[in-house]
């Protein structure tokens, strides 16, 4: 732990905390799914920044930063990215299903969600 000096790491830490706060606010209070997803990414960015600060503070043995939190951040970013991709795909499918359901006869032929994320195309049978 460094002392009470107001150094760069502290500044970044405060930025991270602010991002987490703004993101949480949006995630809890904003009713629109897309904005919720963006808010989740803001919280994520804040947390990653906190990881960066921790890496900086753990600097020792000639390294500019502790490599472990940096490695964790990379994995965390990948996970957050896949989460965002999944959520956006869901929103996309949801909106296309909602437009289909506007017509009579129900959206029966909407194919189940696939892992590829490509919109269901080319059902020869229908």
């Amino acid at each position: 732990m460094t002392g009470a000096t107001f150094d760069t790491a502290t500044l970044y830490g405060l930025c991270g905390a602010a991002l987490v706060g703004i993101g949480l606010f949006g995630l809890v209070l904003d009713p629109k799914p897309i904005r919720k997803i963006l808010a989740f990414n803001l919280v994520g960015a804040g947390v990653f920044l906190v990881f960066g600060v921790i890496a900086r503070r753990g600097a020792a043995a000639g390294f500019g930063g502790d490599p472990v939190p940096q490695a964790l951040v990379i994995t965390g970013i990948v996970v957050a990215f896949s989460a965002t991709a999944l959520a956006v795909t869901l929103v996309q499918r949801l909106s296309s299903a909602a437009t289909d359901a506007g017509q009579p006869g129900q959206a029966a032929s909407v194919p189940p969600k696939g892992e590829t994320g490509t919109p269901g195309q080319g059902d020869a049978a229908s």
Partner: protein, 517 residues
């Protein structure tokens, strides 16, 4: 960073450690085979993989009971804090075997339902279902075996990513809405958890649970980190009041998927909460927090049961019952108190809680599968339209009833033993108010189970309209799971020795005078 300490790890992987790697890798190999071999062989590959997974789970159990100590695998031969460890103790192995049995049963149930159909317009559904089922089994095993908090984060995200698409497998707008809501709650949970991980690393320079146990101090940093992680995991476990995503998600999924989600997926995040509270937090620091968790659990029991009684649809009733039954698990926290002579995991509340977890998993899987069969038979699951249904598909309703018996806590059943142990613990600990909640919860559970069973078994006024036949194999799978929920009620009503294996007893931590520093 940290002072040299007596490492709770052996110099090398224990014999049988490779089994832990197999438990995680085999489902993933299965997924790759499914993708490469094409949809014609999907089912065969998936069911074979599940069978191998069950054999591995049993092998780990034998290894553990044979040696009487934890099975450990050091990835790459590196010991924590530098490397990662996989670790199976008595608790993890119970959950791994439970997962293998329930997912195996669900696999047999789903055979044919998501089978290869050359005439179907959508050929992707079977591949997706079996991929996700195998994915969940591998990810859950990783949760049960992981010993590193960040590793557990990745595992819990894998569980989320495999569980969310299962919810909206039918592609209808309402299930996709439920899936999205589930995903958003889960994402909120995961960032909170990750923030807690960051704080713990900044304070202690390690994320290994076994190492943290020896260095964790009672200080604000630890409290804030554990609080963040716990709240995040509560959102995924769906403890009241963070349960609002659960009913729509669990009731909207296909029956086979609902069974896995309700029986196992919510238990994965609960397992991590257990480890945080009992394996990292020093015992003297849990008092108020444990009471708060149990208070939320009590509210979940009462609220969930009352709402379940009011439901018009069978699957929603079962889903709200899950909300209530999750509440019981959280009564463990104030009741399973350790003392210097007996650690928490040697208390009857600990055994009772794990028994509740297992019996609920079997009972709830059986009930969701039964609800799926009801839907197959009558084309709907409105409770008001099920008068006399039990005479058409008796085995299904027997499975539902036996599962319900365990939820109510009627003897002999796993639910009875679990609730009995918890009742005893709450009286023994002088916390009688939890006993009152447990008894009320049992009565309310009887309310919602009998609300379905009584009309279903009665002689109907008019003949009930049957839509289609019900597969006998599926009925028997549901019945087998319900019978499992009864059978585990025959364990001795005392602290189970299996749950103590590898939890410090053999590592010399249980020296007289308390835990070694």
């Amino acid at each position: 960073m940290t002072t040299p300490l007596a490492l709770p790890f052996p110099a090398d992987t224990t014999p049988g450690g490779f089994l832990l790697v197999l438990a995680i890798l085999v489902p993933i190999i299965g997924i790759l085979l499914i993708w490469t071999l094409g949809s014609r062989r999907t089912e065969l590959v998936a069911l074979t993989t599940l069978a191998i997974g069950a054999a591995i789970a049993l092998a780990i159990l034998t290894e553990l009971t044979g040696t009487g100590s934890a099975v450990i695998y050091l990835v790459g031969g590196w010991r924590p804090p530098l490397g990662l460890a996989l670790r199976a103790d008595g608790l993890s192995v119970v959950l791994i075997v439970l997962t293998a049995i329930v997912i195996g049963a669900v696999g047999i149930f789903a055979k044919g339902q998501f089978g290869y159909d050359p005439d179907a317009p959508e050929k992707r559904a079977p591949t997706v279902f079996w991929t996700l089922l195998l994915g969940i089994s591998g990810a859950l095993n990783l949760i049960f075996l992981g010993d590193d908090l960040f590793n557990l984060f990745v595992a819990i995200e894998l569980v989320t990513f495999t569980a969310v698409p299962l919810v909206c497998l039918d592609g209808k707008a309402e299930t996709m809405r439920a899936a999205l809501r589930y995903l958003l709650f889960a994402l909120l949970g995961s960032v909170m958890y990750l923030l807690g991980v960051a704080l713990i690393y900044s304070g202690y320079g390690t994320l290994d649970i076994a190492l943290l146990k020896s260095v964790a101090r009672v200080e604000p940093l630890l409290f804030i980190a554990i609080a963040l992680m716990t709240v995040g995991l509560l959102a995924k476990t769906a403890l009241f009041p963070l349960h609002i995503w659960l009913p729509a998600a669990h009731a909207g999924a296909p029956a086979a998927a609902s069974a896995v989600l309700s029986a196992l997926v919510v238990k994965g995040s609960f397992f991590i909460i257990l480890r945080l509270w009992f394996d990292i937090l020093p015992a003297e620091a849990t008092g108020l927090g444990a009471q708060m968790l149990a208070g939320l659990g009590a509210l979940a029991i009462l609220f969930g049961s009352v709402i379940a009684i009011c439901q018009a649809r069978l699957k929603l009733l079962i889903a709200y019952s899950t909300v209530a039954q999750i509440g019981y698990l959280f009564l463990m926290f104030p009741l399973a108190t350790g003392s210097e002579a007996t650690p928490a995991f040697a208390s009857i509340a600990w055994t009772g809680g794990i028994l509740q977890l297992a019996s609920h998993a079997f009972a709830k899987a059986a009930m969701f599968l039964a609800a799926g069969l009801v839907y197959d038979a009558f084309g709907h699951d409105r409770i008001s339209g099920l008068a006399g249904a039990g005479r058409v598909i008796p085995i299904t309703f027997i499975a539902f009833g036996l599962g319900g018996m365990s939820l109510m806590g009627l003897p002999p059943s796993g639910g009875f033993s679990a609730k009995w142990l918890m009742l005893n613990a709450s009286v023994g600990e002088g916390q009688w108010w939890w006993a009152a909640v447990i008894l009320c919860g049992g009565l309310l559970a009887a309310g919602y189970v009998f609300r379905v069973l009584v009309p279903a078994m009665a002689r109907p006024l008019a003949r009930i309209k049957v839509k289609g036949p019900v597969s006998r194999r599926r009925e028997l799978v549901a019945l087998a799971l319900a019978i499992m929920a009864l059978l585990i009620g025959f364990v001795p009503l005392e602290p189970a020795p299996l749950l103590g294996i590898g939890r410090g007893a053999e590592a010399g931590l249980l020296v007289p005078g308390g835990l070694a520093p």
